[in-house]
């Protein structure tokens, strides 16, 4: 057993919603391990359970049954506050609708997670600036979301997700509201972050977006349909270049 334990581990996860008299089985027994450093794309038609799984991994929701470990901790035993702290310290979220606070400038938006941190953080300002530089928005820190393009807003959201130095970045349809050119921009950024060691988990229904991942998981009817390693586009290009095949 030389390999380290997986960063995320799910065993027999089920999630059942009640809608009136109707029981909706969003997840029907999902077991899954994700190791540190992976770039996972979760795909599937709507209602297949991919977003439900994402919410469970994001510690935003609790499974109806089954067990889940994140970073070595079992989630079902944790209180609401402990889950909040886990989200704050270990996870970073990127949403389709960006979810920036519209009345605050980019810098304040990025600082927000740090303000909820339990640990004393020495230089909130410097950290937030650093993250905005990283997403190449160093010159737009005082802009409000309304003054930024969609792609820029999503980059602010990514900076916000990074500012607490999370182990895992969860992106739910991060390019769903963006055009093709901006999509490439954002996906390149996520790829770059993944290379720096952050585990990225991405929910998408666009194959082009899933192409950036190192592993692709398909969901259907609340169950895993397939789980396959994938050579991302960018690495293909590199491999092609190394082996001398013309692009």
């Amino acid at each position: 057993m030389a390999s380290p334990p997986p960063l995320i581990s799910c065993r027999n996860l089920t999630k059942t919603y009640r809608m009136g008299d109707l029981e909706v089985h969003a997840l029907r027994g999902v077991s899954l391990d994700i190791n540190a450093g992976e770039f996972v794309a979760i795909m599937g038609p709507s209602g297949s359970g991919k977003s439900t799984l994402m919410n469970l991994i994001g510690a935003l929701d609790r499974p109806t049954s089954g067990e889940m470990w994140i970073n070595g901790r079992e989630l079902s035993a944790m209180t609401r506050d402990e889950l909040a702290d886990l989200r704050n310290e270990t996870l970073g979220f990127v949403f389709q609708q960006f979810n920036l606070l519209s009345r605050q400038d980019a810098l304040s938006n990025v600082k927000l997670p740090l303000r909820y941190a339990r640990k004393e953080i020495a230089d909130i300002d410097a950290r937030a600036r650093e993250c905005l530089e990283l997403v190449k928005l160093g010159d737009r820190m005082d802009h409000r979301p309304m003054q930024l393009s969609g792609g820029q807003q999503q980059r602010v959201a990514i900076a916000r997700a990074l500012v607490n130095r999370p182990k895992i970045l969860l992106a739910d349809e991060p390019t769903g509201a963006l055009d093709t050119r901006t999509t490439v921009e954002i996906m390149d950024l996520l790829t770059e972050l993944n290379r720096q060691g952050i585990t990225v988990i991405l929910v998408t229904h666009e194959p082009e977006v899933a192409d950036y991942a190192t592993r692709q998981i398909f969901f259907r009817d609340g169950q895993l349909e397939s789980d396959t390693p994938h050579t991302p586009l960018s690495r293909q290009a590199e491999t092609d270049a190394q082996s001398g095949v013309p692009a």
């Binding site: 919410n55 929701d61 506050d81 989200r87 916000r160």
Partner: protein, 410 residues
Amino acid sequence: MRVGVAWASAVEALMSNVLRSLLTMLGIIIGVASVMVMMSIGEGAKAQIDAQIASVGANMLTLNPGGFRRGGRSQGFGSGKPFSEADVAFVGSQPYVEAATGYLSGSVTAVSESANWPTSVTGADANYFEVNNWTIKEGRVFTDQDVQRGASVAVIGQTTATNLFPNGDPVGQRIRLNSVPVEIIGVLEAKGQGGGPGQDRDDTIIAPLSMVRNRIVGGNRQVARHVQRIQFLVADGYDILEAQDEIAQSMRERRKVSPGEDDNFTIFNFADMIKQRSAQTQTMSMLLAFTAAVSLIVGGVGVMNIMLVSVTERTREIGLRMAIGARGGDILVQFLVEALLLCSLGGVIGMTIGWIGSFGFAQFAGWPMSVSPVIIGTALGAAAAVGLIFGFFPARRAAKLDPIQALRHD
């Protein structure tokens, strides 16, 4: 840091809809203003009553001839057989009496070289000044010798002085009181309003008893050397009510009241009367307290309502904050602070209005303006308490939101 972020967020939320915030504050504003006015009226009234009692002396009793009732009919003060100077001397000789004075008064027109002034003249003995707590501002008061020889001198109050001598410097001048010439030997220190609504205690002339009786008011057919009233101070260490009873008993004997018959005089306790009068002010205070309570509650419900709206409007924001690590407690604090800020701002505005109101009322009632730190503290405290109490329910609702549901909300 956490409370800091809550403050920043609260300020932002309030500024994002200024009109709505102001309208929400209205109830609080009215409530706090009422609290302010109410308390300052209460304190002003109390201060005024204390001042009145202090100016008369809490230990002063006044003897008036005549009773309140005789033959089933109310009698006015001073309508019966007057007292005599001997009565004054008797009262003054009692061990529990610190000082006693007897006086009589009449209306006169005072004429100086430059003005006419209708006022009243009080003929009194030299103790009058001490018993009534008058102090001299210029010149001197008259002495026992002046009283004995019926000297044509007078001491005048501030109001009389300014009316008779617009150019000042009355001491040493001569005036005529109903054609009787007197010399002004002193001017009294001002006492201000008192003794009754609209009564100016400084509109007075005080002259030796014998001179006033002989030359201005005239003698009494029943009683030689009469006085209309006797005022006396009960000495320290003696109970005022006991003194009142003893004097009453002695006076019944001196005035030949048979047992079983009603007193033909009354003893009047000034401090007691002032305290009774303050009950009116208390009624007004109660009314305002009621207004304050009602508007604070109505204001609180308004705040709760608008906070619930705010929580609903910002459900997504709450979800986002939770997703990035805000605990339920953080959200609770955020909305509580917002309600608190809303109410405190309303409190400050209400306080400003209340201050103006108190000032206006003090002007109207002729009271000293009194807005103490206690009043300010109570008014702001009430506003903050309303914020916390009525903000709690919406804040808790926000804190208990499910992050997933909140994030999906639109």
